[in-house]
Amino acid sequence: MNVAGLIARKEGGDLLLSPRGLAWLLTMAVVLSVFGLLLVGNTELSLLDNAQVVYDMGGIVTALGALLAVVVGTDAVAGERERGTLVSLLLTPVSRMGILLGKLGGQAIAWGVMYAIALPYFWAVGSTGQNLADGAVSVALLGTPVVLGFGFLAMGLGARFDSARSSLLTGLIVLLLSASPLLLGPSLQQSAIGRAFDTVNPISNALNAYDAVIIDSQTIVAQFPHFAVTLVWLAVALWFAARGFNRVSR
């Protein structure tokens, strides 16, 4: 296994074996359970149709994944620096890029675990309709760059800020702003500013793509423009993380 793989495996261990990481995953599972119960209850009461429930679950999984990515990304750089473990890694004969790639791999593992936890919830809310596969595939394709982008952003913030708390707070603010389409009403979203924000916002693009695929039954291939925006977001976040990580001193 190459060094990036070794570090990625260590990062995965941090998530799956440390009490801290297990607590985060447990929290995610509890939140998904609560939302899952609400959605199933609404479906049984015929307040929501199956497509809408799967779409909602896709949005929740993406938002929770991004939240977990911000927490894991902050911990991977700023948290390790505060605990005094980062300097030991920096002093090995592994390049900064190698360490960063390992940590990016750790982000991918975290999202993979989160997605695996979410799949039974998708099944629970969507198994009675025709939208389950579309929802799961859409989240895998469009949610992945969105979530990983937030993780990389948090790593870049962690490299730049002196404290983990400051970088976590900043990451959460950016996430909250990006997720504002979920919070704003339709009228605000239809304003010029709302539309412009929607065009560049990765979460909006992912949600619009979910809407088109799950509710409007469009093909995933037709969502390429949305996919492209999420990829640009991922690339910018990766650049931000790489630039920041090169400046980490201790």
């Binding site: 005094g84 980062l86 300097v87 030991s88 090995t92 592994v94």
Partner: protein, 303 residues
């Protein structure tokens, strides 16, 4: 020289931390880096290992600049930083194996256990690092620093948290590394006993400047300190003569207090006194060593 730092100047966030720090360390040598809190010792170490950008000055480790050739330098460098963190969920063997793999090494589990045992660390099977005492963590940090059989070891307070026996064991290990393997050790500590026991040469940093550098004997001599010793005598002195560099201060039963002038090496003085019939059975230093030198240099600067 295995480590050379010359006229190092470092600023952090626009504040000048180091103004002019120089030191040099050869193979098989233990060099003590001393200074009060906030003097810039840890910053010097961070600069030496290439983690900080320099405003001015040079750092060379085995002839290479750690900023421009970090991989080559880090491959032969072992560091025990001041803030030494661990992955608490790992076992000590897994932890050491992880770092060995990052150095491209593939030691067996038995090898790793042997390395830990050499440093007096024998945790229970499956015991996680999170349950380790401070002393155990310090030994594990040292094991990590030694995993690549480094040519240069940089240790920031390596005996912190160790009991007296543990300190003694670590001293013996460090002396063995120097004498048997030619490892150069930069030892940053506040424990002057450690310095007295381990180091021949020291550097003292005060307010970001090297204020003294050289062998302990030369520095003590150059700062004109009289060294005071208590000698235990087994019986009476047949002829109470002393060499001119030795002054008898007091006599109390079998104990005699003497001052040595800087011109004479203590070993030579004891030899001459024995030759003159002094039945010396034990020598204890009262003052005039590293501690006095350190206090006088740091006091002078503070004033």
């Amino acid at each position: 020289m295995i480590l050379e730092i010359s006229h190092l100047k470092i600023s952090l966030g626009g504040v000048s931390i180091l103004h002019d720090v120089s030191l040099s360390l050869g193979e098989g040598e233990i060099y003590g880096l001393l200074g009060p809190n906030g003097a810039g010792k840890s910053t010097t170490i961070a600069a030496a290992i290439g983690l900080l950008r320099r405003d001015r000055g040079q750092v060379r480790i085995m002839g290479k600049d750690p900023r421009t050739e970090p991989k080559l330098v880090h491959a032969k460098l072992g560091v025990l930083p001041e803030r030494n963190g661990f992955y608490d969920w790992m076992t000590a063997v897994d932890y050491l194996g992880f770092f060995a793999a990052l150095y491209g090494l593939r030691p067996s589990q038995a090898d790793l256990r042997d390395r830990l045992a050499c440093l007096g660390l024998e945790p229970r099977p499956g015991q996680r690092i999170g349950t380790f005492s401070r002393g155990m963590r310090q030994r594990l940090g040292l094991a990590r620093a030694l995993i690549s059989d480094p040519a240069l070891l940089i240790l920031d307070e390596p005996t912190n948290g160790l009991d007296p026996r543990g300190r003694h064991e670590i001293h013996d290990i460090l002396i063995g590394l120097c004498t048997n393997h030619g490892v150069g050790i930069l030892l940053c500590t506040h424990l002057l006993d450690d310095v007295d026991r381990l180091c021949k040469r020291i550097g003292i940093i005060v307010e970001g400047r090297t204020v003294a550098e050289g062998t302990i004997a030369d520095l003590v001599r150059s700062h004109d300190h009289l060294a005071r010793f208590r000698l235990h005598l087994n019986g009476n002195i047949s002829k109470p003569d002393v060499p001119p560099e030795v002054t008898v201060i007091a006599r109390n039963g079998n104990w005699c207090t003497v001052d040595l002038s800087p011109e004479i090496d203590p070993e030579t003085a004891w030899r001459e006194l024995l030759f003159m019939g002094w039945p010396i059975t034990e020598v204890r230093r009262e003052s005039g060593g590293v501690e006095d030198l350190y206090l006088s240099l740091t006091d002078r600067r503070a004033a």
